[in-house]
């Protein structure tokens, strides 16, 4: 049951610098841990995160085993027109989640 928390301002003025915050639920198992019987706990992490505005990429990050569980991203962009942000998280074992949020620019 994966869920995401997205915070995009609902409204902004043309030219405003806006902050976008995202939180995705994921265990981020490093692949470096062992069970009590000595077996390796297989790696299970999110490997990439991206944010597109109306199809154009505005932010991208690659993730590695040192990233904490439930990765949080905060980044900035300039609001120029109304539209939709699409977020995508991709990871091990076929993990793939999307979310979106709209903004109105006045």
């Amino acid at each position: 049951m994966a869920s995401a928390l997205i915070n995009v301002p609902k409204k902004a003025k043309n030219g405003d610098v806006i902050e976008i915050k995202t939180l995705m639920s994921h265990i981020m198992e490093t692949g470096y841990r062992h069970t009590t019987s000595g077996e390796v706990v297989p790696r299970d992490i999110i490997t990439s995160f991206s944010c597109r505005f109306e199809g154009e990429e505005v932010f991208r990050a690659d993730l590695f085993p040192a990233t904490a569980a439930n990765p949080f991203f905060s980044f900035f962009t300039v609001a120029t027109r109304s539209g939709k942000f699409d977020f995508e998280w991709i990871g091990d074992n076929g993990f793939s989640e999307t979310a979106s949020a709209s903004i109105t620019v006045e």
């Binding site: 869920s3 915050k21 939180l23 904490a68 569980a69 439930n70 949080f72």
Partner: protein
């Protein structure tokens, strides 16, 4: 002669006081009580305060979905009986653990949810410390966010609170420590770089950065009991519920912070 007798009596009382005080007089005065929040770094406080940075909110969101999901042979969701949780569950977590007449004991919030599942949804109890029970508990407890902790006033609970207090005060384990030795006597100091804190249970289930996940109060209690190298209890054990009861009586009046974030 009379004066001498008074002096003897007074010194006896003082001596008795010295003997008794380590057990009774060390509880933190109400005016000095503070939540674990007060001991945190500004960054961790900010993480808890903002709903989009508080990872505990992920469990609250999942709990909301589970609240509406039909379960068991009765094919009922929590919402089918309790309706809108924002009104029906408001203040519930602030008074738990509460007395349950049919079992004749206090039950904590997790146990109440499971009793409801068995009795009314005709389903199996959810396993402790697994995602679904944590999510439902967090969702129910979040409805009391900001409300003052107000323990269940049922008179039947008194002996159980007393047992919990007894547990808190007693030295045990290989390190021969009682909870009180850290959380009453040394709460303003540090242990291995971390604040000791006052053992106020007003934010559970909570997201611990150390755990990298949400956890229950009983998980925290079991951690501490392990740390004292004492005999531990299983999740849901009566001893742990009694200790929860006593801890909530200490935290009386503090705002419910669920889902709290702690280092």
């Amino acid at each position: 002669m009379k004066l001498a007798a008074t002096i003897v009596l007074a010194s006896l009382l003082i001596a008795a006081g010295i003997v008794v005080s380590p057990l009774i007089a060390t509880e933190i005065p109400v005016s000095e009580r503070k939540s674990g929040y007060a001991f945190m770094a500004p960054e961790t406080k900010a993480m808890q305060d903002d709903e989009t940075t508080n990872p505990g909110m992920l469990w609250v969101l999942d709990g909301e979905k589970l609240w509406k999901r039909k379960q068991g042979s009765a094919d009922k969701a929590c919402a089918d009986c309790h309706g809108d949780a924002s009104s029906s569950m408001k203040g519930v977590a602030a008074r738990y653990p509460a007395y349950d007449k049919s079992v004749g004991r206090p039950v904590n919030l997790e146990q109440r949810i499971n009793l409801c599942r068995v009795r009314h949804q005709e389903s199996d109890p959810l396993p402790y410390e697994k995602h679904d029970l944590l999510a439902l508990t967090a969702f129910v407890a979040e409805q009391s966010h900001g409300m003052p902790v107000a323990p269940d006033p049922a008179p039947e609970l008194e002996p159980f609170v007393a047992k919990g207090r007894d547990f808190f005060m007693h030295r045990q384990g290989q390190l021969n420590l009682g909870c009180t030795n850290c959380h009453d006597d040394n709460w303003d100091k540090h242990l291995a770089g971390s604040a000791v804190t006052q053992a106020m249970a007003n934010g559970y289930p909570m997201y611990r950065l150390e755990w990298q996940t949400l956890g229950s109060l009983q998980r925290r209690l079991r951690n501490c009991i392990n740390g004292m190298r004492a005999q531990n209890f299983n999740f849901g054990a009566p001893e742990l519920v009694e200790l929860e009861l006593y801890l909530m009586s200490r935290a009386r009046g503090m705002p419910v912070e669920t889902p709290a974030v702690r280092p």
